[in-house]
C-alpha cells in the first residue's frame, strides 16, 4: 500500500454509522478521525503499532475474537463496534491490571494531572482497583544528567523503546526479562547515565504516557510531555526520502 495508485477507498460502519476510509488506515485511525473514543496506551501516532496494551479492543462483525483497533486494517464493508458493556468491562479490567502491576501512586507522581493512565482511569470510570496491588520493589535510576527513570510508574507500553529505535535510531532502550519480570532497560541493564549510545535527545521522555520517564529539576506541573512532534517528524522524514 505504498504507491498512491494502490490505495482504495472503503466504506465501513462504525457503531452503525457509515464512514469512509483509505485502505491504508487502521480501524483506530478511522475511529479517531470520526471522533469515536477508543482508549489507547501503547499506541502513539508516528510509532509502529504493536497491539500490546489491549485497551483498544473492538468488535468486528464476523470475527470470533476481539481485535485491537490499532493494528487492524480497515476493509470494505467492515462493521466495527467501538463500545458496549463487554468492551467497557474488559477495558476497565485491563486498566485495573496495569494499575495493580507496579506502584502507581498518583498523588506523589511527577506526572500527576498530566498522565495518560490517570486520565483514562477517570474517563473509564475507575474509582478503585479490584485486583490486589502487587507492590513490587523497583529502583529509581537518576544517573542521567537530564532525565529520571522510575520503574515504579512504568506500564511497559514500550513507546520509549520504539521511539529510540524507530525515530532517533539509537536503540538505547529495550525490554529485558519476560512476563511479569519484564522491564525496560538501557544498554546492558546499566545506569542510564552510563549509556554511551544515548543521544540525550529526550524523545523517550516526551512520549512516555506516565511518570516513568521525566525531566530532572522540574516540578510536577512543569513535567508535561510533548509528543506532538512525532507525526511531524515522520512526515518530514518521508519527504526527504
Amino acid at each position: 500500500m505504498t504507491a498512491n495508485g494502490q490505495i482504495k477507498i472503503f466504506t465501513l460502519k462504525i457503531d452503525g454509522k457509515d464512514v469512509s476510509a483509505r485502505s491504508d488506515q487502521t480501524v483506530l485511525q478511522v475511529c479517531r478521525e470520526n471522533e469515536y473514543f477508543i482508549p489507547t496506551l501503547c499506541h502513539l501516532e508516528g510509532l509502529s503499532n504493536i497491539g500490546a496494551c489491549r485497551l483498544c479492543m473492538v468488535e468486528v462483525a464476523g470475527q470470533r475474537k476481539l481485535l485491537p483497533a490499532c493494528t487492524t486494517m480497515v476493509s470494505e464493508g467492515m462493521e466495527v463496534t467501538t463500545t458496549n458493556d463487554k468492551l467497557a468491562h474488559y477495558r476497565k479490567m485491563t486498566l485495573e491490571l496495569i494499575f495493580s502491576e507496579r506502584n502507581h501512586t498518583c498523588s506523589v507522581c511527577v506526572s500527576n494531572n498530566h498522565c495518560e493512565l490517570q486520565y483514562l482511569s477517570q474517563k473509564l470510570g475507575i474509582n478503585h482497583i479490584r485486583v490486589p496491588y502487587r507492590f513490587p520493589k523497583f529502583a529509581v535510576d537518576a544517573s542521567h544528567p537530564y532525565f529520571i527513570l522510575d520503574h515504579n510508574r512504568c506500564i511497559l507500553c514500550t513507546r520509549c523503546v520504539r521511539v529510540c529505535d524507530e525515530i532517533e535510531g539509537a536503540h538505547v532502550w529495550d525490554v529485558s526479562g519476560r512476563g511479569i519480570q519484564a522491564k525496560v532497560i538501557t544498554e546492558l541493564n546499566q545506569p542510564w547515565g552510563s549509556a554511551d549510545t544515548c543521544t540525550q535527545c529526550g524523545k523517550c521522555v516526551n512520549v512516555c504516557p506516565v511518570g516513568a520517564l521525566s525531566e530532572k529539576g522540574r516540578s510536577v506541573a512543569e513535567n508535561t510531555k510533548r509528543s506532538g512532534f512525532l507525526p511531524y517528524l515522520t512526515a518530514r522524514r518521508k519527504e526527504k526520502i
Binding site: F99, N103, H104, T105, C106, S107, V108, C109, N112, N113, Q118, S121, Q122, G125, N127, H128, I129, R130, P132, Y133, F135, P136, K137, F138
Partner: protein, 177 residues
C-alpha cells in the same frame, strides 16, 4: 429522622478530614439532616451499634486498623472510602515492597540521632506485612478518590447519599486529584 454519620481515620494524614471540614458553611445546610455519632471531631469514643454512613480515611496498616474496619463494616450501612489512602493505600503503601522489620529498624535505629531503640510498648499496634486499601479487607460501597478529594466532591457525595442516591463521582475526582 436524621441520618447517623460517622467518620474515622486509619493510616493516613488526616488531610481528607481537613478537606471535609473545608465544606465550611455548607455543613450548616445539611446539619439538620445528619447526626455525627462518631468521629475524631467529636467526643464519643465508642463506635455505635448502627450507623447509616461511615466515611473512612486512610489505609489498613496495622492490626488495630484491621480490627477497626471490620467492626465498622459490621455496624455500618454505607461505607465510604474517602481519599486515595483508603482506596489504593497511596503513600502509606510505599513501604510495602520492603519488609516491616527493615522499615522499623531504618526509622527508629539506623536513622535515629538519639534514642536509637526499637519502639516496644504494648499499646503500639503491630504493623501488617503490607498496607492494604480498605476494599481488600471489607466491602466498600462508595469510593471517593483524591489526595485529598476536594471539599466540593465530598459535599456532593454526602448530599447525594442524604438524598438516597449513590453518587457518581466520575467527572468530579480521580486518583491523585
Amino acid at each position: 429522622m436524621k441520618a447517623k454519620i460517622a467518620t474515622t481515620w486509619l493510616d493516613g494524614c488526616s488531610g481528607c478530614h481537613m478537606s471535609f471540614l473545608d465544606i465550611d458553611e455548607r455543613l450548616l445546610a445539611i446539619a439538620d439532616r445528619i447526626e455525627l455519632v462518631y468521629s475524631p471531631l467529636v467526643d464519643n469514643k465508642v463506635f455505635p451499634d448502627y450507623v447509616d454512613v461511615t466515611i473512612v480515611e486512610g489505609a489498613v496498616a496495622s492490626v488495630d486498623d484491621l480490627a477497626k474496619i471490620k467492626k465498622i463494616r459490621k455496624h455500618t450501612k454505607y461505607l465510604i472510602a474517602l481519599g486515595d489512602c483508603a482506596i489504593n493505600a497511596n503513600v502509606p503503601s510505599m513501604r510495602n515492597p520492603i519488609p516491616v522489620q527493615e522499615i522499623i529498624n531504618r526509622a527508629y535505629v539506623e536513622n535515629a540521632f538519639i534514642h536509637d531503640v526499637m519502639p516496644k510498648h504494648p499499646a503500639l499496634p503491630e504493623l501488617l506485612a503490607r498496607v492494604m486499601p480498605i476494599h481488600e479487607v471489607v466491602p466498600v460501597d462508595v469510593f471517593i478518590p483524591g489526595c485529598p478529594p476536594s471539599n466540593d466532591t465530598i459535599f456532593y457525595a454526602v448530599a447525594e447519599l442524604l438524598d438516597g442516591r449513590i453518587p457518581d463521582l466520575t467527572s468530579k475526582t480521580r486518583f491523585g486529584a
